[in-house]
């Protein structure tokens, strides 16, 4: 997709989103920080209904900031509980902006999910028990540098639109149609803003804790507060009536179409059709129609399904680009398929027309992305490179405090301890055992620092899947990896899997604690092709470096016969390939990352031994390695 087309699509998504942020859940914007993203954000802010709250949620916002908590200073002064609202409830009825969303931690993502699904924050903190309304839409700014770095899939699943501005250039936004959007879809829906189209919180309106939360809810959601954002008829005014009247036949057909297209494109999420339906209705309402027509559906499907498609419908397969080159960077864009050119053949079933539109909107390098998508589905991304250099010195980092005693290496957090003790002073002063002390701290007040949980090891398996390795017992190598996996499981390690064959290396599995996934990716690993050893080492090193920056300890385990015969630039030739591999090995040693070289050749390969020495790795020839020896070797490498 060309920059101009991407920009046009991004603006279309923006126009729909701004009309009903809450109903559409959110929008993920993949782009580096820069003028293009700034322009897009500015247009977004200008397009949102006036007065709608917008809050930026910093990446490292703690629970007290995110969810809310006790305002200690105010509480002590006032003599009764005063809560401090969190960002999520402050943004109620509006939008939260998540910068560097690709680095959101699983815990924070879970809290965002809960608010997004339930339209409220359940606060059970610091003696406070509240349910605060938090109907929010998310704008996730994804600065992921490579395809494996993106917003947690569970959050993406709750956003209608995923747009990519990485290919948009300044020229695209200045000279192209951003200012000249078709008037039929006005950018700023000033009129609509006043009577929102759909304000339903996307997620299932939850049972609010029945008896539980209703007590002690002080200033909880009053009807007036929840009303506008609670589920309400989908379309304003007369349109709503029309919609409901035709509900059975028309809506049923539309839903069938949307579900059918989702299946054809391999869009698994059950939320996607709901988002598409809503987007289509908004598009229709913006054009003054009572219900979505083919064009609205096509637009919705292109925007919602396009970025989520995991396969092309069978008959289209031939048109798809053949084996795409794996490295997507810096490649000249193939000519874009034009979004707008969906010729409408009236005879075609609705589903086909809509499907056409979606296919036209698919990124041309879809197939290249599919591999990584299918393998990283649901994976929580580890934090990326941006601004992390300083952290690598430290294993783990403090992430807050909790009640507990400063023993067994736990560190007392003095300030939090004093804060915890403060509210109880009145009470303690009255206690008979109270001495002349001014400020009494008791054991219950002790707060200890919590570090990021279980700073553990991540083992990166770099598996040679080339033809020579396949012949030389790829199966056995897989077996060996399985043994190591079992060992990793016992140690609660994470594992990641990289395979190299043909012209490059591929990340099959990003770091995960799920051994099952590791095993599955491994089982599906095909063999064949030349051995791009240097590329394999480079990829493993880059991944390990990322892992180290995220605070875990990486170990790389290479399983290869080290018969390098493919250079980085994709040309053959053993001498050059070996030289490159040696170069990569030296670079690896320079990083100080622990490595292990398991030689899978039928007889120990001297080059493998040399290479291992060059990268400072332990060398284990597979013929002599049984499960115990392998496991031992990995442990030793880790030590």
């Amino acid at each position: 997709m060309s920059g101009a087309a991407a920009w046009a699509g991004a603006l279309q998504a923006l126009g729909l989103f701004a009309a009903d942020p809450l109903g559409l859940g959110g929008i993920a914007v993949r782009a580096g920080a820069g003028p293009v993203r700034d322009r897009w954000l500015k247009i977004l802010y200008d397009s949102l209904p006036p007065g709608m709250p917008v809050r930026r949620v910093p990446l490292n916002a703690g629970d007290d900031r995110l969810l809310g908590g006790l305002d200690l200073a105010a509480t002590l002064q006032a003599g009764h509980l005063i809560e401090q609202k969190g960002l999520l409830s402050e943004a109620d009825g509006g939008v939260i902006v998540l910068p560097m969303a690709e680095r959101i931690e699983p815990g924070a993502a879970a809290r965002l999910r809960a608010a997004s699904d339930e339209g409220q924050v359940t606060l059970q903190r610091d003696g406070l028990s509240r349910v605060l309304p938090a109907h929010i839409a998310m704008v996730a700014l994804d600065e992921g540098a490579d395809p494996d770095e993106h917003v947690p899939t569970s959050l993406l699943d709750r956003m209608a639109f995923l747009i990519d501005l990485t290919k948009v250039s300044l020229r695209d936004i200045e000279y192209d149609d951003w200012s000249g959007l078709p008037s039929a879809r006005p950018l700023v829906m000033a009129g609509e803003g006043k009577h929102p189209l759909v304000m339903a919180g996307e997620g299932p309106p939850s049972t609010p804790l029945s008896g539980a939360a209703s007590q002690g809810v002080d200033g909880g959601p009053s009807p007036a507060m929840t009303e506008p954002s609670g589920p309400s008829p989908a379309v304003t005014g007369g349109a709503g009536a029309v919609h409901r009247a035709t509900d059975t036949a028309e809506t049923a057909k539309i839903i069938e179409t949307l579900c059918g297209v989702a299946m054809s494109l391999g869009v698994d999420s059950i939320r996607a059709p709901l988002f598409a339906l809503r987007a289509a209705r908004i598009a229709a309402a913006q054009d003054g129609r009572s219900g979505p027509d083919t064009e609205d559906l096509s637009l919705a499907v292109a925007l919602v399904y396009g970025p989520r498609a995991t396969r092309l419908p069978p008959q289209e397969e031939a048109e798809a680009p053949p084996e795409p080159e794996p490295p997507p960077e810096d490649q000249p864009e193939p000519p874009p398929p034009d979004d707008e050119d969906q010729e409408q053949i009236p005879d075609l079933p609705l589903e086909d027309i809509v499907l056409e539109a979606a296919i036209a909107a698919l990124p041309p390098d879809l197939l290249a992305q599919l591999a990584s998508l299918s393998n990283t589905k649901g994976q929580v991304r580890m934090p990326g490179r941006v601004g992390q250099a300083k952290m690598s010195l430290k294993r783990g980092r403090p992430i807050g405090t909790r009640q507990g005693e400063p023993k067994g290496g736990a560190r007392l957090h003095l300030l939090e301890t004093l804060k915890a003790a403060a509210p109880w002073q009145t009470l303690r002063r009255r206690a008979p055992e109270h001495g002349p002390k001014r400020f009494e701290v008791r054991r219950d007040d002790f707060r200890i620092v919590r570090f990021r949980q279980r700073v553990g090891t991540t083992t990166v398996f770099a598996v040679d899947a080339s033809g020579s390795a396949a012949m030389n017992r790829l199966g056995e190598a897989k077996g060996a990896v399985e043994l190591l996996l079992a060992d990793c499981y016992v140690r609660r390690d994470q594992v990641a899997l990289i395979a190299f064959r043909g012209t490059g290396a591929q990340l099959l599995l990003a770091p995960t604690g799920s051994l099952l996934r590791a095993k599955r990716s491994l089982a599906g690993l095909p063999g064949g092709g030349p051995t791009p050893l240097a590329a394999g080492i480079d990829a493993a090193m880059a991944l390990a470096d990322n892992i180290r920056r995220s605070g875990r300890t990486p170990i790389i385990t290479f399983l290869t016969d080290a018969r390098a015969n493919m250079t980085r630039d994709g040309s053959g030739g053993r001498p050059k390939a070996e030289a490159e591999a040696m170069e990569s090995a030296r670079a690896l040693r320079a990083t100080g990352i622990a490595a292990l070289m398991v030689d899978t050749s039928p007889r120990p390969n001297p080059f493998a031994r040399t290479l291992a020495a060059e990268m400072g790795a332990r060398y284990v020839p597979l013929p002599y390695a049984n499960a115990a020896a392998l496991s031992h070797a990995v442990r030793a490498a880790a030590a």
Binding site: D63, L70, G79, H80, L81, P106, A110, R113, A114, D117, V121, T122, L123, Q124, R125, G127, L128, S129, S154, D157, P204, P205, S206, T207, P208, L209, S210, G211, A212, A213, V217, P221, G230, P231, P233, A234, T251, A252, I255, L258, C259, G260, D268, I270, R271, P273, G378, Q379, R402, G404, W424, T426, R429, A431, R442, T512, S514, L515, R517, K519
Partner: protein, 339 residues
Amino acid sequence: MSTRPVFPFAAIVGQEDMKLAILVAAIDPGIGGVLAFGDRGTGKSTTIRALAALLPPMKVNQGCRYHCDPATPDVWCADCRATAKHKSVTVPVPVVDLPLGATEDRVVGALDLERALTGHKVFEPGLLARANRGFLYIDEVNLLEDHLVDLLLDVAASGENVVEREGLSVRHPARFVLIGSGNPEEGELRPQLIDRFGLSVEVRTPQDLPTRIEVIRRRDGFENDPIGFTEHWKKAQDKIRRRIVDARGKLSGVAVPEIALENAARLCMALGTDGLRGELTLIRAARAVACLDGDKEITDAHLRRVAPMVLGHRLRRNPLDEAVASTRVNRAVEELFGA
């Protein structure tokens, strides 16, 4: 605040295992909780939150903060014991959320901070107290902080919560059905916690088109007109509620024939599950299903239906055997009972 309508349990499409597990836990709370693990967007939370609207109300001592049951004075809290006369009232069964980010004091209870500021010592019960005799729901249970998990394990095992704070010592009953949901791809659950759940179900995104269409239609119908939608499903809801009530009444009357006991034992042996809890839970769950179906005794059919959800998470863990444990259970079931 609970004016916001909840998607009706009866209107949930598919997910039969999860629905059955929840009904079984509602009929016999002693079975020990439900763990629902699976894909995103499969309606895990929706189903569990729909539970509250479905449960028949319960009788409690009026004013008791722990919902003490008038019928069982032997497990009353200290407050109820201290009071001579009790009036019993009917209240909804609590379904309490334990949100991520909850602090320890709110989970176990602590001194009422508000009152403490003015120098009074009053115990403010926490979530565990609220959940007594009801359900405690933890969404994203695999992301729950370790120290909260420890607390839960302790209380879930003893059925009692003990709080010591500022010279105040409170001990109160905390018997609840633990319900957890989560996505295994986001983190593993500690084996000790898994062990606390009587039933576990794997939840998947429906893959067939008609089901998916129906899911979207109902969702859309609900969002467009929640009140009308709820009204439309009221009859079906009432029917399920009656089934729960009926089933509870029949629980003690269901016969457990020798052959059922034997088959349960053989199944557990074949699968190599640890301890007797698997067998016990298998029988209890089968009994609850028999009640639900209105049957008079446990048959193989009941055992077969509950075996995957009872035994799936009790298999000895072998990370590299395809973790779809239900497949292993089904294999064993087929070997024992025939295909």
